[in-house]
C-alpha cells in the first residue's frame, strides 16, 4: 500500500513519518529533480505500507518545483491513500491545500497534528464535525510524542475515504470554503501566554533580531568547522597514512590505488565531519522553529539582490567551505533563488583560500595584510550579491514565490535530528563521491605521467602551455600550474608553489600578486564543490558556474593588475 503524506511546511510530516515507520526511512531525491524525498516502510496490521513524504507545499498549483513534484506524484504514482497532515494551530490556511487534494478523488485521512500547541493557544477544534463536513476520517496527533499514531494506523488499515465534499475549482471558492469550514469547527478559548510569544519578544525584536541571528550563524559556523576539526584531521591522517602505505608498494596498480583512489576518496571523506555537523546544526535550527524567523529577519535585505532570507545561511556557510554551503541550499523552496544561491556561493571566500591570501599578503603587504585579506572577503561578497542580482534579472527571472510561516518553537526531538542528519549525509556521500573518485584518478594520471617530477608531468606541461593565456597578468608558469592544481582543492595552490620552490618575491610584483589573490578568490570552484553543484543543480549549471567564474576572475584580475600598476 502506498501512502502519500501531504501538507504545508512545518506541520510535522517528518516527525509523523518517523513515528509511523519507527525511523525506518530514507532520504533521496525525486527522480530527475533535486527535491528531497523521504520514503519509509512499516508493517501495519500485517500489511506492508510505503509512506512517501512529499515536500511541504501550500498549494498544488505547481508554481514552484516542490508543488510540481508533489502534484506529479499524486497524478502519476496514484497513491492508495493520502495522509493530509495539518497544523491544528492554523486550520484555515492548511484547509486550502486539503480542498485542492479533494479534487484528486483519492482516499484521504486528515491528520490534525500539533494539537497540544493549538490547545496552548486556546484553539479548540471539533474533529468530529470536521470529519462530517469533509467526509473523511480526522485523527488528532502529537507526532513528536507519538500520541495518536496508533489510532492513525487503525484508520490507515480502514483505507480512508474518498472526500464527498463538492468544492469549486477556482482559488476564491476554495479560500472561501476553507474560511467557512474553519469558522464552523474552530472555537477560541482565552489565549494563554506561551513560550513562543516569550521567545519571539527577544528573537524578533526590531533592534536585536539581526544581531542575534548573526550570533547564531557564528555559532553554527564554529560548530561546523572548529568543533568538527579533530574528526576532519583524524580522517585526513588515516587516509594519508593508508595512501602512503599503499603507494609505497611497487607497481603502477598500487600507485593508482594509493595516490589516485584512496587519496581521492579521502578528499571527499575529509569533508564528512563538516557536512554532518552542519546538518546537525541546520536540523536543530529547523526543528526548533528558529529558522523561519531568521529567514523573515534577513528577507528584506536579501530581496534587494533577488534572493530571499533563506539564502543567507548557505552564503554565510560558504566562508567555511562551499561544499556544505551548497548542500544547505536545499532549504530554499524557490528553485530560481536556490540555483542563484548555488551559483554565487563559490564567490564567498572559503577557508581553503585563506592560505593563499596569507602567503601573498605576508610577502607583498606586510603592514596591511589584515586589511587586504578582509578587503578580499568583502569583495567576494560584493561579487556574489551583484552576480545574484544579474542572474535573477537575466537568467532566472521571475518573482520568488514563497510564504514565510512562523511555527511555534519547540525543543527538537534528538532522534529526529539524528535521523535527518544521517539520511542527508549519506545522500551526500553517494552523490559527490562518484564524481570526485573519477576525477581524482584523472588528476593522478596527469601529475604522474610521463614523469613523476611534477615539472615534467602532463600537469607541468599543461602549466607551460596555459601560461600564455595568463601572460596579460604577467604570471610565470609555476603560478599558472598552481592555479590549475587549485581546481582539485584550493589548498593545493600553496602546496604546489611549495613543491616547486617558487621564489615568489623575486619573480612576482605587487600588482601581479594582488591579481593572483583576486583570481584565486573568484575562479572556478574546487572539484568537491563542482561535484556538489552537479548533484544539486545538474551538469548545465555546473558548466555555467565554471565558465562564468573563470571569466569574472580573469577580467577582474586583469583589471586589478592594470590599475595597481598604474597607481
Amino acid at each position: 500500500m502506498k501512502v502519500a503524506m501531504v501538507g504545508n511546511p512545518n506541520v510535522g510530516k517528518t516527525a509523523l513519518l518517523n513515528a509511523l515507520t519507527k525511523g525506518n526511512f530514507e532520504v533521496g531525491n525525486f527522480p530527475g529533480t533535486t527535491v528531497e524525498k523521504k520514503e519509509g516502510r512499516a508493517r501495519v496490521g500485517g500489511r506492508e505500507i510505503v509512506f512517501v513524504d512529499l515536500p511541504g507545499i501550500y498549494s498544488l498549483e505547481a508554481h514552484s518545483l516542490d508543488e510540481k513534484v508533489a502534484r506529479d506524484f499524486l497524478i502519476n504514482e496514484k497513491p492508495d491513500l493520502i495522509l493530509n497532515v495539518v497544523n491544528a494551530s492554523n486550520l484555515e490556511r492548511n484547509l486550502y491545500l486539503t480542498l485542492q487534494l479533494v479534487d484528486f478523488k483519492i482516499p484521504m485521512i486528515l491528520v490534525l497534528n500539533m494539537i497540544d500547541e493549538a490547545e496552548r493557544r486556546g484553539i479548540v477544534i471539533d474533529a468530529d464535525k470536521l470529519s462530517k463536513i469533509l467526509g473523511i476520517p480526522v485523527v488528532k496527533t502529537i507526532a513528536v510524542k507519538g500520541i495518536g499514531v496508533e489510532e492513525l494506523k487503525r484508520e490507515i488499515l480502514k483505507d480512508g475515504r474518498i472526500p464527498r465534499l463538492v468544492v469549486g475549482k477556482d482559488l476564491n471558492s476554495k479560500l472561501k470554503m476553507a474560511e467557512k469550514i474553519a469558522r464552523e469547527v474552530v472555537t477560541f478559548e482565552k489565549a494563554k501566554l506561551d513560550l513562543t510569544e516569550i521567545l519571539d519578544e527577544v528573537f524578533m525584536d526590531r533592534h536585536l533580531g539581526i544581531p542575534i541571528f548573526i550570533v547564531f550563524m557564528w555559532m553554527m559556523f564554529t560548530f561546523t568547522y572548529t568543533v568538527a576539526s579533530p574528526l576532519t584531521d583524524l580522517i585526513d591522517l588515516a587516509f594519508s597514512a593508508l595512501s602512503e602505505r599503499i603507494s609505497s608498494l611497487n607497481g603502477i596498480v598500487f600507485a593508482l590505488i594509493g595516490d589516485g583512489i584512496v587519496k581521492g576518496v579521502g578528499s571527499v571523506l575529509v569533508f564528512l565531519p563538516n557536512i554532518a555537523f552542519l546538518f546537525i546544526a541546520l536540523a536543530l535550527l529547523e526543528l526548533s522553529g528558529y529558522m523561519p524567523r531568521a529567514v523573515y529577519l534577513m528577507d528584506r535585505i536579501m530581496t534587494a539582490f533577488g534572493l530571499t532570507g533563506r539564502s543567507v545561511i548557505p552564503l554565510i556557510m560558504g566562508f567555511g567551505c562551499n561544499v556544505p554551503a551548497v548542500m544547505a541550499t536545499r532549504t530554499i523552496e524557490d528553485d530560481r533563488v536556490r540555483i542563484a544561491t548555488i551559483l554565487v556561493n563559490p564567490f564567498m571566500s572559503c577557508s581553503a583560500r585563506l592560505p593563499i591570501y596569507v602567503l601573498f599578503a605576508g610577502i607583498f603587504f606586510p603592514k596591511l595584510g589584515t586589511a587586504v585579506i578582509m578587503g578580499l572577503y568583502a569583495f567576494g561578497v560584493a561579487v556574489a550579491l551583484i552576480s545574484a542580482l544579474i542572474f535573477r534579472k537575466v537568467l532566472l527571472r521571475g518573482e520568488a514565490e514563497y510564504i514565510i510561516e512562523l511555527p511555534p518553537y519547540r525543543i527538537p526531538n534528538l532522534r529526529d535530528v539524528w535521523i535527518l542528519t544521517w539520511n542527508r549525509t549519506k545522500h551526500f556521500l553517494q552523490k559527490a563521491g562518484t564524481v570526485i573518485l573519477a576525477m581524482s584518478v584523472v588528476i593522478w594520471f596527469l601529475t604522474s605521467f610521463p614523469s613523476q617530477n611534477i615539472e615534467e608531468s602532463y600537469a607541468g606541461i599543461l602549466g607551460r602551455v596555459m601560461q600564455p593565456l595568463f601572460a596579460p597578468m604577467g604570471w610565470d608558469w609555476q603560478f599558472v600550474l598552481a592555479i590549475l592544481m587549485g581546481f582539485v582543492a584550493k589548498e593545493v595552490v600553496v602546496e604546489t608553489l611549495g613543491i616547486l620552490n617558487t621564489p615568489i618575491a623575486q619573480i612576482m610584483t605587487m600588482p601581479q600578486a594582488l591579481a593572483f589573490m583576486v583570481f584565486s578568490l573568484l575562479y572556478m570552484p574546487c572539484l568537491a564543490t563542482l561535484a556538489t553543484i552537479k548533484a544539486e543543480a545538474g551538469w548545465r549549471w555546473t558548466i555555467f558556474a565554471v565558465v562564468y567564474s573563470f571569466v569574472i576572475a580573469y577580467v577582474t584580475a586583469f583589471t586589478v593588475e592594470v590599475i595597481a600598476r598604474l597607481i
Binding site: L193, L195, I198, V215, P230, L237
Partner: protein, 127 residues
Amino acid sequence: MRWYSATLFLITLILGLTEIASGLKGESIVQMIPGDVFGGFILITISAVFLRGLTTKDYEPFFYFGSTMLAIFGILYLLVLLANGLDAIIVGEGWDPMNDLRVEILLVPLAVPGITLLIRAKKNLPP
C-alpha cells in the same frame, strides 16, 4: 533579579569592548580576554539583550534568553577548547589549554540563575 540582569549587562559590555579593543590592537590586553573582534561583538549583543530587558517593564524574557545565550556560548567555547586539545593529540602537536581558556567559559555559572528561572517559568506555563 533586575539588578542581577543589570550586573550581567555591565559585565558582558565591558568584556565585549575589551575583546574588541584587544582584537583591533592585535594582542590581548588582559589575560584570558582574547583579542577577538567577533567574540567581542557577540558579548556586546548579549549585553544588548540584557539592556533591552532593563528598558522594558517585562524584563524577564530578555533576562532568561540573555542568560541562555551566555551559557550557550560559554559551552561552545568549551567545546572548541576540547576540540583543539583533541586535535593537538591527533596531529601530535603541543597544546596549552590556557591558550584556549576564555573568559566566556568562566561566565557560564553566572548564567545559571537566569536559566533556572526560565525552566521554572516554562513549568508554570500551560502544558
